[in-house]
Symmetry: C4
Subunit: 235 residues, 4 copies
């Protein structure tokens, strides 16, 4: 009987976390874009808050829901049977709803129309490859982090996204729920709704590739504590 | 009999910490504003020092006073009966006095008039919503952090404020004592005294909302160590 | 019999890690260079992602291969007999191949010709001294880190490179495999192939110097836990 | 008999650490200044490397010498009898010599005259107050950090200096050995030799004030582990 309130808390944590993540991504994009004409500086003003809030959100909500905030991550855990199929579906609904709410909150704070439709074109093979690379790296980081240093996951994800905002040509959305929410904002962080399918498909493919690699490279290893002693690369 | 000197040390720690926090917020704002015409760069030069000093101050003064440095945080702990009402009142007095001193020190270093009255307009529903969101996030971060990772609180607060400076339309004051001190500085970080009440009310409302959410979502959970094993989102 | 798959995983980890490192160095350089005309901002947009991804990659791949990603580091461990000569040769091959792949991936994402030849001149005694200093600092950081705080190595290396990008006149390549890969990219991070030998020789010399210093200054010390108690500098 | 080699290693660590610190301060200042005309961006390009290298140097050399790198810090430990008077004198000599070497190395890398005399005026009551505040904060951070979280000292000092570069009007030299070395560089980080005495006196006064405050506020407290449980500010 205790399972239902537990699931409701988990779903609330997923919605809250995704909302705060999107508020940060969209809000800091608006702030940066208003304050400067230098686009690199805008991206920096978008990157640092996003990386920082990810460390916070995963630390404080991870113990409740696992802090997925991302349908691609939930799918990977569902395929690994770390989360039951039923809950995973509800997780994704909560993430999408939370992400949309996050976009609305950012718009309300900055006194923009509550909902917009983004006109920012983000398409083409370079962008799709970038999203696949971004999601590959994110999922591999999570799976390898869980294998060797689960306590470090909040930092690993925050730092990975900090880097991926710059090394991918797409600025690393890497998250279908966040991508949908960003389609509702015609600001720095926006994406044209017509470009969503390409991004989302690429993200799922990248995630599956990371899962395949992880299932090979992370198995048949010595336990984490012993492996840490190997840090010097000894045989 | 040992209680009175102990309380005096706690109050000194609150005053010192709030002073150093305000010196950082106001001083780095003056420095950044003098060195560049790009406002995004000024905000970055204001953000990085503020986030960094919060990690330091909470780590070194937390063991003495709890490192509130913020009347909203003290109110929350008083409502939770984590601090007695009498001490909480003195904490808030120390925070306001320390904050004012911090503003004076920053002005003296930069050879400005010791006390100014800020003329920076910060008002309107967007700004008030932003302050409520900022304080909500700060208090929720602290309460969830205390529940799951109390040793990580300094980093969580530093990183949260780093993000909130950018994702809120108000640059996240989130602290009535700091807001009052900033009203005494007609520089980058200033706020017109007439705009203080709106900010302070919004901050208290955001904090109460965070407290209400925390009282539901953080209860009836498994202990932290066990919950960490759930990081993968397993049932 | 289990050794061969183990070595194959280690080599895959070295190739993957060096590839992701080069994708980050080259990709973030392209991104930053496209978004701004201010070269200091480009270097900042190159520095922050590189430092961040190093913390991630060393944390998640260190337990598999030791996370060298750098022929100079592999050479040092081979000289110390921490890795057998045979494996060390294969490590270096994997690093160079992975680095080249990383450059290709960055170019594909940003829709540039897959392979370019860099025309960026980086030569002269100042540059060579800078590379020797960069590699000296990197190797000494790793050896002293392994001696006193092996768990902190990912952060130490990420922070060291963050600093060295700015304090060395060469922006701290400090890695022959990454240097070769960067010769294949005519972008912000590139280096003219003719300038590679000078860089690579200087890097090996700096590494050997660090090894010599470490063999003296790190020996005959008290164990790490006891030494930590000496942090105050007591006799 | 084992004491003399031990002291020689400690002195080498102090010289090496101060040299690398000054190379970073001066070198990153030259790099930033060459790449941009925006002085705030130059200061950021000076701040981030300095904060990063401090975390590294204190972590890897702290177990050998205590990682003072600063005559003011050595004086404080000598007054506390944490280091014998004789060694403290040699420490300060090693720091000054190492700092000078660091300035030379930076100049050699950037192909400047090996020794210059700085012409940068840094004087006046605002600057002196700033240096006193900077050294006060640094020494108090170290003493309180040693009291409650000695393992966190590298991060605390790195983050403190990151903040102090911006919140003090003097950009926080806070270190006589580094100040002397910076007088030998007519670049971004320089200081006119005639202005050294004012800076150095202010730094020692700030340090003594921090020591006095620490001797009151850090005593008669409960042990650190118990105090951590007080993080909520409970009586």
């Amino acid at each position: 009987m205790a399972v239902i309130p537990d699931l409701s808390r988990r779903l609330a944590a997923e919605a809250l976390g995704t909302a705060m993540l999107v508020t940060t991504v969209v809000g800091s994009g608006i702030m940066a874009d208003r304050l400067t004409n230098d686009v690199a500086l805008s991206l920096l003003g978008n990157t640092i808050p996003t990386g920082a809030i990810l460390v916070v959100l995963i630390t404080i909500l991870g113990p409740i829901s696992g802090a997925h905030f991302n349908p691609v991550v939930t799918m990977v855990f569902a395929l690994r049977r770390d989360i039951e199929a039923n809950a995973s579906f509800l997780y994704i609904v909560a993430q999408i709803a939370g992400g949309m709410a996050g976009s609305l909150i950012a718009h309300a704070m900055f006194e923009l129309p509550i909902i917009e439709v983004s006109a920012t074109v983000r398409t083409g093979t370079g962008q799709w490859l970038a999203e696949a690379v971004a999601a590959f790296g994110l999922v591999f980081t999570i799976l390898a982090g869980l294998r060797f240093r689960p306590d470090a996951i909040p930092w690993l994800v925050g730092l990975y996204i900090t880097a991926a905002y710059w090394f991918t040509a797409s600025t690393s959305f890497a998250n279908p729920a966040v991508a949908i929410a960003r389609a509702l904002s015609n600001t720095f962080a926006g994406i044209r709704p017509a470009d969503l399918p390409g991004f989302i498909i690429a993200e799922f493919l990248g995630a599956l590739l990371a899962m395949a690699l992880a299932s090979w490279i992370l198995t048949d290893q010595k336990p984490a504590t012993q492996a840490l002693n190997n840090l010097k690369g000894a045989e």
